[in-house]
Symmetry: D2
Subunit: 337 residues, 4 copies
């Protein structure tokens, strides 16, 4: 039941279930259909109207559109004609979680992600001046842009049928997941301390994401689901698809992290987003050093040198306005003697 | 009268006066006192209440607070205790300019900048994990932060009395100047396409800044005035001071720039803000190539190679969340045969 | 026998054994003891005297010193007093491989890596202004440097006994491996197109590295062996140790790669080294696109978009003068229908 | 006589003439013709044969070739066919200066630079994957390269006749100037601590450059003269030309700088070269803080904050393998009370 577990079935309970307000208890299930959502959001901030209020322990079933809001339907569509910046990467929400206040962490356990809609429901494309191996709006060059190429892709909950030649496993994850910043409203393409468009494949069913809460209720947003994605998301686009994504919320009071954190059965991870990419890496590793010191009793320099021996670095993307790196350590090295 | 000219007294009129709706005519003078402003803004976006609506050609006298809102008053104050992030760098506005629509450029001619308040009215300081020669929130290090040092500085409209040893000329300019982004709201510390915290010393009395308009009225914000600043603003703080800053507005219809532009009597400049710093430089120079092609009839490759011989690069800051570079060319090279 | 295999025991032979001059035949075994080596090299280039000439298919047993040349012996040693820049990271070689000419690739299969010397034979330390979470010579700050901390570590061919609390698996790999550049001589701390100090954990027993040959004989250098290392080598130092490292050479004629490549049983990888880190990532992924097109018959845009779905990014280090990223794809996706 | 002064005619003597071994005395004049030079060097290091030994105070007249060694002669030449990497940017030297030892600084005063050869003796061009507004070998993209465009340019010691439309002033300077690194040999395209390809327009007649000496005699190299160049050298190429460049040497004992420094009549400057560009800026400003503390008696934090008000940043290039920034301060602020 790994694709659809109501809570982490781990030997040791997740931090969420140890320290959260709901203490592992599962509450009400809500559904956020497109009808209930109404208009999507293209910017993540404190200025939009909440669509729902839930309790710690509650579960929400999100009907997410793909990051193009379903507009790219045929392989001869031109993204540059269809997409209208900055109205891209539509987000569901905001969801208010009762009890979440500035200075807390919002815990989000992803129970399951299922594809929805008719095949070919997956979309990949090359968008002019967007992606890792092209000049962009920021890495501004005078070269002609790459061609616009659209791929429509069949997929189910086993596989992504990429081409006649290549079939990839279905590895769903959430590309964009956020709590609201305190006063900024940040477009849905940009990751930062609030989460945002991190494109981290580990934000997937079975894992728990912890986001810093900056405003009352947290104001949770979600969107941009991927049926699979490589590390770096090098062309700038994953296999984008509409999903039914079910998550369970909890609130950890007084856990004042500066950046998103993630927990899997076997690892803990900190996530940094910045430019240049080394700064994202510095952020992620520094946060991990801090975590080892604060919650696991390591000496700071011991933690720093030890991560130099067993740290794991995971590239989210290096194509967005900010780039994302996760730094992780296996839980087995965290045990106290 | 160079410090206090009602409009550019140049041999050839500014683009503003050639192409603006007001066509060089000067309108009404408005005053935005602290009382009329009410609360300041710490984020620049479309979600705040306008404080004033003006016509093209109108002039506004802004009473700007310093970037610390006057809170740092003594040399033994501790910035880390006094400043409360993200409520820093207060902005006056938003001002609505009639006739400005998405796709236009807002022209802002700075007539004059005068210091106000009692001496020592200038402030410089070292803020933990902020500045060019220290680890920061992004360039995350484990080093101990630099000490907090505060300097209170006497200044008048001739000089900045930096120390017993060094007196610097008063070279006032506006650190943060913006139109609103379309849907984002961006904290006042960050420069980007909307302008923002560019810290470009050329945004000073006698020069004209052109900002892209993304929302009706432009929604103009201003703050963060500096009595002087070096290129790069290396410690992260200029000589910050409260000012009376007088600007004249105009609207250039259909001038769809992607990034801020600036005009002085003798040069034109494009301004890019990004990380890493080479990307800011790329943006600025690419925009300048585009400008030479579109408005001055140069061939693209001729413009590119010629800027390689006579382009001028001006570093705004390399300390903010994004770094700022201006690329300029003397007007004398733009003449048509 | 995975730790000590004479050649890759893979279902499909390695590229080395398919396309190399030796065609999988194993030749003579040579031994490069410290006595035969004489003085080590701290710079990798065409100006040093070869220590040995071997044939394709030959095997060399290298007695590598640790990257500190064994000078850090006690936990109260001060690296800043003991190490004398730029005489650091001693390299064995150069080895001339018969038949290798400019435009070829040198294949290096690592058969085995065994620790040598008395315990505690492992060394880790924090060196002032060196590492990922500190100001450095390049990321120049005014912060006080981090403390100098030395760790002497027991290790054997099963484990690295990091601390009372943590035992890590022995995962040996070669930190610095190079062919000579054509005219430059590059210090042993810097990775680049020639290989160099890549600190890529996948350059380990059982895998094959392919380096561009720029001068006759290739002029192969090796050193800087690690008993284990995390991704990123965040403190700048791995578990450094003296090793007996056995490699087998071959030459692939006319394989003109611009950057190092690597082959494991299940993946192929390209390796880029540059600053900022996104440039290393761009290099690695572009080389991988080229490889998929040239040797595996993929369409360029298909390869680019497909790597966006199944590419694997591996961070070598982000602490050296240049940073290193590997981009990989599982071989299973390369099969032709 | 500013274009051809035998020594700095400044009110206060240059550091060179105050602290150098020759104490301002002018010695013998030597001439390094192409015949005496023989083959040029494409890499700067300790492994080449000296062409000349001179005394402190001596003057050398260099006949420098242009950076293409005169191979690009017509506007329909194709740089990609004519240039053979890495044999580009030919350097004259090495010159041994008596008395220069590791730990000293070599002072180089440029007396004059005159064009030589027939017109059109200036060359500019666009080289595939080289320059500031294009994908490059490092900023690796899949875009088609920019076109190859060659410009042959008439110039004399007054003007550079860029086009029918634009005439630029002759502002000669030395693009590449170096002492040898200690053990590395660095290609002539890359700037670093040894100097190298800094492309800093201030390294021009009338100014003094100070380079760190790492090997006996300093081993001085020079080449890559420019008739003019914009800040940033955005297309990657200046107006390249063959010159007769006359310099005077001196040695400052025990002045152990880590990076090049420069002195003009009115300013002192430190020069950093690194990637990303903010690191070059950090290096330059940190060195300038150190200089103000060591030689001018400023308090470190006072110097840091004061440079934030009056520092000048000068972009050399952002197109080479490393980027170059100079940080300067007017001498008038250095006076002691």
């Amino acid at each position: 039941m790994s694709k659809n577990a109501m809570k982490p079935q781990w030997e040791t309970p997740a931090i969420m279930d140890q320290r959260g307000l709901a203490a592992g208890k599962i509450g009400t299930t809500h559904e956020l259909t497109p009808e209930r959502q109404g208009t999507y959001h293209y910017t993540i901030g404190p200025y939009s109207e909440p669509v729902m209020t839930v309790q710690p322990g509650d579960r929400v079933v999100f009907w997410t559109p793909d990051c193009f809001e379903g507009r790219i339907q045929k392989e001869d569509d031109k993204p540059s004609e269809i997409l209208e910046m900055p109205f891209i990467n539509p987000q569901c929400g905001p969801i208010m979680v009762e009890g979440a206040e500035k200075g807390d962490a919002l815990a989000i356990y992803i129970e399951s992600m299922e594809p929805r809609g008719e095949n070919p429901r997956g979309t990949c494309c090359m968008i002019p001046e967007f992606g890792g191996l092209t000049g962009t709006n920021y890495t501004a060059t005078l070269n002609d842009p790459l061609p616009e190429v659209v791929r429509k892709i069949n997929l189910d909950d086993d596989n992504v049928y990429w081409s006649d030649r290549v079939t990839l496993p279905y590895k769903p994850h959430v590309g964009t997941i956020s709590c609201s910043p305190e006063i900024d409203s940040i477009n849905a393409l940009t990751p930062d301390q609030h989460g945002g468009n991190m494109d981290m494949p580990d934000i997937c069913p079975g894992n728990v994401t912890y986001l810093p809460v900056k405003v009352t209720g947290g104001r949770f947003f979600i969107g941009d689901c991927h049926a699979c994605q490589g590390e770096g998301e090098v062309c700038g686009v994953a296999v984008e698809y509409p999903s039914v994504t079910t998550v369970r919320f909890d609130v950890i009071k007084g856990w004042q992290n500066q950046w998103p954190r993630l927990e899997t059965e076997n690892t803990i991870m900190t996530i940094g987003s910045a430019r240049p990419l080394e700064d994202a890496t510095r952020i992620a590793y520094r946060e991990l050093v801090y975590w080892l010191v604060e919650d696991y009793g390591f000496d700071k320099w011991d933690a720093y040198m030890m991560l130099s021996q067993c740290g794991v670095a995971k590239l989210g993307n290096f194509v967005d306005p900010k780039y994302t790196i996760g730094a992780a350590i296996p839980k087995k090295y965290l045990a106290r003697k």
